[in-house]
């Protein structure tokens, strides 16, 4: 079974995130980049599936696919050092400014160049937090869509997941090829070993431009996006909290507050 994991480099979770005023996109130049945290779970899940299958004598490869500027190679290296076999990097200045719609188109084209049975992604990225890409990608690929997986089981020709819901989980099964998005409950991602880090250097990395992937420039970037950021503002400073004094009625005051905020 061949698995492709889509990974994205995002600004360091610990760094202050900014939008650049010129084109209203996330500033990726001034900050350290890291692999989107949920994508680490996706990589881990792909590796576990591959390892389980190969223990049963099965074959297949895990390929990481990323779309992003040159710097994203760092994130590719991390996935390779965790144990992925090879990588494809879709990089082209014309991709800058792509929204989810355009990105899903570009990724689907890049996926067309890689043999795959399963595509695994994190449910969302920590910078954009749209959580729509897996669904869009499945639609574009004409593949089964299995989202919010907290457990994945690969059968013969099918994939079965436990789909995380607010109240518990649903069991969903669908034929391969499939796109699976994972939540962080699914596993505990491994840390790369030094051996893995050294090996990553020697693993194949293919770079694709728009032309290589057969992507039409009109469908990506700002022009190809269906959404537009028209304006943005800094988050207002934190308001001073409200202190509730317990004069025998502290409990009901708290309950009132929570009800007011629609928490209960």
């Amino acid at each position: 079974m061949n698995i492709v994991v889509c990974v994205k480099q995002v600004p360091d979770t610990w760094a202050e995130k900014k939008l650049s005023p010129d084109d209203k996109t996330v500033d990726r130049v001034g900050v350290d980049g890291v692999m989107n945290e949920l994508d680490e779970y996706a990589v881990e899940e792909a590796l576990r599936i591959k390892e389980a299958l190969s223990a049963q004598g099965g074959g297949g490869e895990v390929t990481v696919l990323t779309m992003g500027p040159d710097k994203s190679v760092e994130t590719i290296r991390k996935a390779l050092s965790m144990g992925a076999d090879k990588a494809v990097h879709l990089v082209d200045p014309a991709l800058h400014g792509s929204d989810a719609l355009a990105t899903s188109y570009a990724l689907s084209k890049a996926l067309g160049t890689i043999e795959h049975d399963l595509v695994i992604l994190g449910v969302e990225s920590t910078d954009a937090r749209m959580s729509v890409l897996p669904a869009m990608l499945a639609e574009r690929l004409g593949a089964s869509q299995l989202t919010f997986a907290r457990k994945v089981e690969v059968g013969t020709g099918t994939v079965k997941i436990e789909r995380q819901t607010d109240s518990g989980y649903d069991v969903v099964e669908a034929p391969i090829p499939a796109v699976v998005s994972v939540v962080e409950k699914i596993n505990e991602p491994r840390y790369p070993s030094f051996k893995g880090i050294m090996a990553a250097k020697k693993k194949p990395l293919t770079t694709l431009t728009l032309a290589d992937a057969g992507i039409e420039a009109d469908n990506v970037g700002f022009a190809g996006s269906g959404t537009e950021v028209t304006d943005f503002a800094a988050r207002p400073p934190k308001q001073a909290g409200q202190i509730v004094k317990d004069e025998g009625d502290g409990g009901s005051k708290l309950a009132d507050f929570l009800a007011q905020q629609k928490f209960i």
Binding site: Y191, F194, K195, I197, M198
Partner: protein, 384 residues
């Protein structure tokens, strides 16, 4: 000349930094308070291959070098010195002598399990009667048929009494040389073993989660072939082990010093006095600037020693200077960081208080600061 790390070293450093932040730091205060050995953290370090960093893959290692080990130690020490010294003791003092001086059979037997972190090795040099004069131990090993019989005691031995400890290398007096000096031999003692006892843990000022024991050997018998390398080579072996170990201790000190900077920067931007963050006052900001300066210089000192080691060049003086300087500034930074934290800096649950207690031993272990000065002075040709 280029002082930057290679891509692989930087990737390793980042990985361990992440591990230290996500796994080590959250439980550091707990282990400091309870003085429990962090078995779960050590297991995960083993899975990452940290215990095998500087050893070839052929022996179960990661195929890295000593700098790789130092970087891992530095990053761990930013979160918890106890965890960092557990790695340093296990690899630098425990496994390294086996790799450097052991027979092929000893390497095959011990290194794979040590590299996985499933077994820990310790190095017993210091005795209750003295550590600086380590070339003059009281512990004796006498050959009786095809067995060594060991009698004596060792003091302050790291990693000697954990549930994972499987091997203690003991420096023994095995006779007298022609020049009247003692003949010293390193003997491998697989543990647990009859006649070998690791006594109760010491009550220490710092390094609470690191295992430190006094060892007693009473008619402890091991096979004649348990000699590490050759009989009579003990002195040279431990001198060279300590030269390397000093670079690793220097890395540990730099990690602690950096942690003090990081904590101080964070706190002094948040904590307010007289209506402004304390970091806006030069008295605080300049102090922290000096802390960062010292840390940077200390880091360059150990990078230099490690680079010389990797190039096969002499590094004894550079190792002594790196160890002396970085342990000194670690103590300075820890003192200054607690000052920045004011009263909270004196509270045990704050990391800076732990760093303050953990720092002092760095000026003592693996050769005191006086010993480092001796080594530097002698390397300059002074008759001291």
């Amino acid at each position: 000349m280029d002082f930057r790390l290679s891509d692989e070293h930087e990737a390793l450093r980042k990985t361990v930094e992440e591990f230290a932040r996500e796994v080590v730091a959250p439980v550091a205060e707990h282990h400091d308070r309870t003085e429990e050995f962090p078995y779960d953290v050590v297991r995960q370090m083993g899975e990452m291959g940290l215990f095998g960093l500087p050893f070839p893959e052929d022996y179960g290692g990661m195929g890295g070098d000593f700098l790789a080990l130092c970087l891992a130690i530095e990053e761990l020490a930013r979160a918890d010195s106890s965890v960092a010294i557990t790695l340093e003791g296990a690899v630098g003092l425990g496994s390294m002598p086996i790799y450097r001086f052991g027979s092929e059979q000893q390497k095959r037997e011990w290194l794979p399990q040590l590299c996985r972190g499933e077994a820990l090795a310790a190095f017993g040099l210091t005795e209750p009667g003295g550590g600086t004069d380590a070339g003059n131990p009281r512990t004796r090993a006498v050959l009786d048929g095809d067995e060594w019989v060991i009698n004596g005691s060792k003091a302050f031995i790291t990693n000697a009494g954990t549930d994972l400890t499987r091997l203690v290398t003991v420096l023994c007096r095995t006779g007298e040389r022609a020049d009247g000096r003692p003949e010293l031999t390193s003997v491998l003692v697989p543990v647990p073993r009859e006649g070998f006892r690791a006594s109760r843990k010491y009550s220490k000022v710092g390094w609470h989660a690191s295992d430190t024991r006094e060892l007693v050997l009473e008619d402890c018998r091991v096979p004649a072939e348990s000699v590490l390398g050759d009989r009579g080579r003990g002195y040279a072996q431990f001198l060279s082990t300590l030269d390397e170990g000093r670079v690793a201790i220097s890395a540990l000190a730099v990690g602690l010093a950096q942690a003090c900077v990081d904590e101080s920067v964070r706190y002094s931007r948040e904590r307010e006095a007289f209506g402004a963050p304390i970091g806006s006052y030069q008295g605080v900001a300049f102090r922290i600037a000096d802390m960062q300066l010292r840390t940077h210089v200390a880091r360059l000192a150990y990078y230099d020693a490690a680079a010389r080691m990797a190039a096969g060049a002499p590094f004894k003086r550079e190792a002594a200077m790196a160890k002396l300087y970085s342990s000194t500034i670690a103590v300075d930074n820890a003192r200054d960081a607690t000052q920045v934290f004011g009263g909270y800096g004196f509270m045990n649950e704050y990391p800076v208080a732990r760093h303050w207690r953990d720092a002092k031993i760095l000026e003592i272990g693996e050769g005191t600061s006086e010993v480092q000065r001796l080594l530097i002075a002698r390397s300059l040709g002074l008759p001291v």
